[in-house]
């Protein structure tokens, strides 16, 4: 999404004094610029980085006192944590794959096989993004819940219900960058390929897909991180069988008041998602996306 735009900034960059001059004026100006950047960074440090550091510190402090790795050993040894870790990772991976496939197909139709009202659908997707995720689960509760439309079978309390909800909610996050990328694709390329005898599947594979790869990568990795961190959808299903890492953090901290344990799970969750996000930023910069 915004990353794609942000990478464009590296190409153009804002105006700065030209020439390699490190004259006294340039030095003073850059020092002034650093000074101006200080207040927002200080606020961020106070309200975000410092609390995060406290979480890391707390994860090394078991309730029995002292500093040790005991909370980590306890959490890693517990079956619930390993189960939650596995559920989180495969749910996020499967949701991302689903969102990419579905989002690509739907965006293709909107962009290249337009129908009356395709514009309205594209706008609907923008609106959709501004709704909270738990609405989807709320709707699924009516459809598949115990007194639901489809009837009472235990679909929602399985990971498949969560998977369906996550694919539904996050697909628009893939479609938006794709639609933006498609709108910049020159239709003359498609016409040329088609007049040379390529059929639709081949055009999609050899012309459209290569153009769409950066947008797919950007959307896909954003969705992966968002799925790893999703909480509302899982909370609303009320499923005891589906526990993800964010649910485990919530359960340990609020329901069990086990703060060191919650902090350990939080640290693991942060490492996974920040690691993936950082990897994605490096890769997308390399790819020149």
């Amino acid at each position: 999404m915004a990353e794609a735009v942000q990478n464009a900034r590296a190409a153009r960059g804002p105006v700065r004094p030209r020439g390699g001059g490190h004259g006294p004026d340039t030095v003073r100006r850059s020092r002034g610029a650093l000074l101006w950047a200080l207040p927002p960074v200080a606020l961020l440090a106070l309200f975000f980085l410092y609390p995060l550091a406290l979480v890391v510190r707390q994860s090394f402090r078991p309730d029995s006192g002292g500093t040790s790795l005991q909370p980590y050993a306890d959490v890693f040894a517990s079956e619930a944590f390993r189960h939650a870790l596995w559920t989180t990772v495969w749910l996020a991976g499967a949701s991302t794959a689903g969102c990419l496939a579905l989002g690509f197909a739907l965006a293709l139709v909107i962009a290249f096989v337009p129908f009356p009202g395709a514009k309205a659908v594209a706008r609907f997707i923008d609106v959709y993004l501004s709704f909270p995720s738990f609405l989807i689960t709320l709707a699924l509760l009516f459809i598949y819940g115990t007194t639901g439309i489809v009837g009472s079978f235990q679909f929602l309390t399985t990971p498949w219900g969560v998977l369906l909800a996550e694919v539904t909610y996050f697909t628009p996050f893939v479609m938006r960058p794709l639609l933006a990328a498609f709108s910049q694709l020159d239709t003359a390329q498609l016409e040329a390929a088609s007049s040379l005898g390529a059929r639709a599947p081949r055009i999609v594979r050899q012309v459209i897909l290569p153009e769409a790869l950066p947008a797919l990568a950007a959307g896909g990795s954003l969705v992966l991180v968002l799925c790893l961190n999703e909480f509302g959808i899982v909370l609303f299903t009320g499923a005891k069988g589906v526990t993800t890492l964010p649910m485990l953090v919530y359960g340990k901290a609020i329901l069990e008041s086990d703060y060191p344990g919650a902090c350990v799970v939080a640290v693991v969750n942060v490492l996974i998602s920040v690691g993936l996000y950082g990897l994605y930023r490096v890769v997308s910069r390399r790819a020149g996306a």
Partner: protein
């Protein structure tokens, strides 16, 4: 046009509708339909009523609506100020520092919001800053979560800004503060309002961090929706959810009106 034959085009559209309607339109319609009903065991909701809305617009629910609105407005304004300041300051930095600043401000997107909630809870439940149990702890968490989005969209807009305007102003003798106030900020106004809308919508629907933090006297709407569904009052819950969606859309619409007026400048 990718598909030329008429029959194939209809087939593609049919597949699109079969995928799109059940997945995206149905959930919203279901929530909307349920908000007017008290029973739903067949295909259509039954026992239609507006009683759900009567309870969703008074008392506890009305208070939750004002709570959500106040939280979202405060958090978006704070986030917009900090995010814009950081984006403007970052644009003047050398490349290395600018990247560092960008990475710092993008971090809250990657950190799970439950963890942001936990960290704010851990940090501000102890002196010197004891915010736990006040409304400010919710507002702080929301601000942290949406600042990243404000910073991203404003800094993307800054790179698209044509430098000729500010150079012209500066060459005519305008001081930097004047250039900022009269040239750059007005040019950025459309993206500032867009960012404000985004922050507002995110904060209105925020549940994960809020669940970790909210004090009993500062309950935002999403928490109320969860509380209703958790005790089995699904139909009241969906009425509250519809109120939440409507409030968000109304504010987004108002914000987009500001944007269209500003972009004529």
């Amino acid at each position: 046009m990718l598909v030329h034959s008429r029959k194939a085009r209809w087939a593609v559209w049919a597949v699109f509708l079969v995928l799109f309607l059940p997945l995206f339109a149905l959930p919203l319609l279901v929530v909307l339909g349920a908000s007017f009903a008290t029973h739903w065991s067949g295909v259509l909701p039954s026992h239609l009523t507006t009683a759900n809305y009567r309870s969703a617009t008074r008392g506890e629910a009305l208070q939750a609506l004002t709570t959500s609105l106040l939280t979202a407005i405060t958090a978006s304004l704070l986030a917009l100020t900090v995010g814009t300041w950081a984006a403007l300051a970052g644009a003047a930095l050398r490349k290395r520092y600018r990247r560092l600043l960008d990475a710092l401000f993008v971090l809250p997107v990657a950190v799970p919001s439950v963890v942001v909630g936990l960290s704010v809870l851990v940090a501000f439940s102890q002196p010197p800053m004891l915010l736990n149990g006040t409304r400010w702890i919710v507002i702080v968490a929301h601000t942290v979560l949406v600042t990243a989005f404000a910073h991203q969209s404003v800094s993307a807009a800054i790179t698209r800004l044509d430098p000729a305007y500010e150079q012209a102003a500066a060459s005519l003798g305008a001081r930097p503060s004047y250039v900022l106030w009269r040239v750059r900020l007005p040019l950025l106004l459309p993206s500032l309002t867009a960012a404000a809308g985004l922050c507002f919508a995110l904060s209105m629907g925020e549940l994960s961090a809020t669940m970790m933090l909210y004090p009993p006297d500062w309950t935002p709407l999403p928490v109320l929706v969860y509380a209703a569904t958790d005790r089995g009052a699904l139909f009241t819950g969906s009425a509250v959810a519809v109120v939440l969606m409507t409030a968000t859309l109304l504010v987004l619409f108002a914000v987009s009106r500001v944007r269209t007026r500003a972009s004529y400048r």
